[in-house]
């Protein structure tokens, strides 16, 4: 279990370090080097502290003590790099003075840790580090120093991650920042776990040279959260882009087809609304989102061009009943349900189309659309609205009645051409 956790953590951290290294190749922000450096140091430490790797190294040479010293220093250096990432996330940008002070402090801490560990006279063997009886307290001091400084670094990073999370709008980046915040909090638990060894340090002079089960599991979960959070935007791009694209195209294709009756009726009377008059009516699947957008705009262009033909009482007649024939007159204009408003718009368009088809003269002053300003300014909102309008345009009895009235009115106008 300890092997599995350590190796999973090492794989995640080292893979992430490689990914970041490729990005650094294109960038120049020092914080990117801190992030890549942290992942590389932590990944290497976890790899060499995996019991199976230590055992393999032991077969090559008796290097347990050296490996233990180096991996401890790598983990401490990883903490320093996280502190620098935290400082670089501050609102005013990286404060070079503060960074300089922190780097000097970090050097002091790293040197002190190494000195204390050396003074402890630790000998690591078979995954277990042992200090002589008169130097056990050095081992305890080392662990307290490691836990205190590591926790301080992670707290600085956590504070900045929380602040950034609050300022970023909902989306993949905020999700990623939250995951990294959880990783930092779990990292604090992981770092403080070393204090559970202090009693054993003082009483028996013992410490584990490799990762124990708890540390390796904490390390693996922390690595998964940290690397997952730091690559959340990439995952979002992949899942919202290439991976999800076929589903979006299919949905756009169906919606494009669903809007066909309304668009087709408008285009027949107003051919100028089409950007590509010779274009196919069915969209190519991979371009369906763009074609759907064009269909929405062309319907809106047609709606605008039809304004002179809108009946004068366009907003009143169709509003009297909804699609199901229930009375809606008692509901205020601003409180009408979307279905009723969609019927009103569909009836207005149908009546205007009938008027234009019958050759009615356009009016000089014409009423504005009743609901134009109530739709949110997004493609999704406009599509949702036009689907309602199209459904009403095709099947609503109120819209059918509006068509008949428009025909009758136009016939009346032709029979009695006196101006009204």
């Amino acid at each position: 279990m300890a092997d599995l956790g350590s190796l999973v953590a090492a794989t995640l951290f080292l893979s992430f370090a490689l990914y970041r290294a490729l990005i650094i190749w294109r960038g120049s922000d020092p914080a990117q080097r801190y992030i890549a450096g942290f992942a590389a140091c932590m990944g290497a430490a976890m790899l060499f502290r995996a019991p199976v790797v230590m055992s393999a190294l032991r077969d090559l040479a008796p290097l347990d003590t050296v490996v233990m010293l180096i991996t401890h220093e790598l983990k401490s250096f990883a903490h320093v790099l996280l502190l620098l990432v935290g400082l670089s996330l501050r609102p005013a940008g990286p404060d070079h003075g503060a960074q300089g002070r922190q780097i000097r402090l970090a050097v002091v801490v790293l040197v002190a840790e190494a000195a204390v560990l050396l003074m402890a006279g630790v000998r690591a063997e078979s995954g277990l580090a042992t200090a002589p009886p008169d130097r056990r307290w050095f081992l305890a001091v080392y662990n307290v120093l490691f836990a205190a400084y590591g926790t301080w670094c992670l707290l600085v990073l956590t504070r900045e991650l929380v602040r950034q999370t609050r300022q970023v709008a909902a989306g993949p980046m905020r999700t990623g920042l939250r995951l990294m915040t959880f990783a930092a909090l779990l990292g604090i638990v992981w770092t403080l776990w070393v204090l559970t060894y202090v009693p054993m340090n003082l009483t028996q002079g013992l410490h584990t040279a490799s990762e124990d089960v708890v540390c390796s599991v904490l390390g693996a979960v922390t690595a998964a959260l940290a690397t997952g959070g730091a690559t959340a935007t990439w995952w979002a791009r992949a899942s919202g882009g290439p991976l999800a694209a076929p589903g979006r195209w299919l949905s756009a294709y169906r919606t494009h087809r669903a809007l066909e009756p309304l668009w087709s009726a408008l285009r027949t009377e107003l051919p100028q609304i089409a950007l590509d008059p010779a274009g196919p009516r069915r969209p190519v699947l991979w371009r369906a989102e763009f074609d759907l957008y064009r269909r929405v705009i062309e319907i809106r262009d047609g709606h605008l061009a039809l304004r002179p033909y809108f009946p004068a009482d366009a907003t009143g007649r169709a509003a009297l009943t909804g699609t199901d024939g229930t009375a809606a007159a008692s509901v205020g204009p601003g409180e009408r349900s979307a279905e009723v408003r969609a019927v009103m718009e569909a009836a207005t368009i149908a009546a205007a189309l009938e008027g234009k088809r019958a050759g009615r003269a356009p009016a000089g002053v014409h009423p504005a659309g009743p609901v134009s300003q109530q739709i949110a300014g997004t493609i999704a909102a406009e599509v949702a609205w036009l689907l309602l309008v199209t459904a009403a345009f095709v099947s609503s009895p109120e819209v059918a009645a509006a068509r008949i009235r428009a025909r009758t009115d136009t016939t009346g106008l032709k029979n009695d051409p006196r101006p009204r």
Partner: protein, 188 residues
């Protein structure tokens, strides 16, 4: 033959749009404001109620400024599209070859002396290649903005965070760093 021309036109427009730095969250007025600052020429947006005898969008160019007159009594998305269509004329450099007078300009801006009007472009039909191009560019801008809104985070910290935790190596250049030539594209 015709489809080849449409294909070339579409690819050219896509190249132009891909080079644009779109604000996030996207707003056509903000985008046009940034475009005006980049060119060092004001672009004034004038909402009007649509009338029978005038197009729903008009770009009027004078010595001092550009005016985009647009129908304000349509849906917000349609308004944004009309604004972007006129802005696309500016982005593509169509104002350099447009006619110098229009009845629509006289109706829409009666206080503007006709002698000051240098160019007028109207969004009405798409028979002219310039109108087709502007319409395509406007459509591509808004579909790209919708894609960015779906996949990209927003907020003032976004550029910095994108540098550190996104796939970009560097912060992308801001609008101020882009040249007008860059906006105009290969066929500007």
């Amino acid at each position: 033959m015709r489809s080849d021309r449409r294909g070339r036109q579409r690819r050219r427009c896509r190249r132009i749009v891909d080079r644009l730095d779109l604000p996030s969250p996207f707003d056509a007025a903000d985008f046009i404001g940034a475009l005006a600052r980049l060119r060092g020429r004001p672009i004034e947006l004038i909402p009007v109620r649509s009338e029978t005898d005038i197009p729903c969008g008009v770009l009027i160019t004078t010595d001092r400024a550009d005016y985009i007159v647009y129908a304000a009594d349509t849906t917000p998305l349609h308004q944004q599209h009309i604004l972007l269509h006129e802005a696309a004329h500016v982005i593509c450099g169509h104002y350099e070859t447009a006619p110098a007078s229009s009845a629509a300009a006289r109706v829409l801006l009666p206080d503007l002396p006709p002698a000051l009007v240098r160019r007028v472009l109207s969004r009405s039909v798409y028979t002219e290649p310039q109108e087709q191009e502007a319409e395509l560019v406007a459509s591509l801008i808004l579909t790209r903005a919708a894609h960015l809104a779906r996949t990209g985070p927003t907020g003032p910290e976004w550029p910095r965070l994108r540098t550190l935790f996104g796939g970009a190596g560097n912060q992308e250049p801001t609008g101020e760093n882009q040249s007008v030539d860059g906006l105009d594209g290969a066929d500007g």
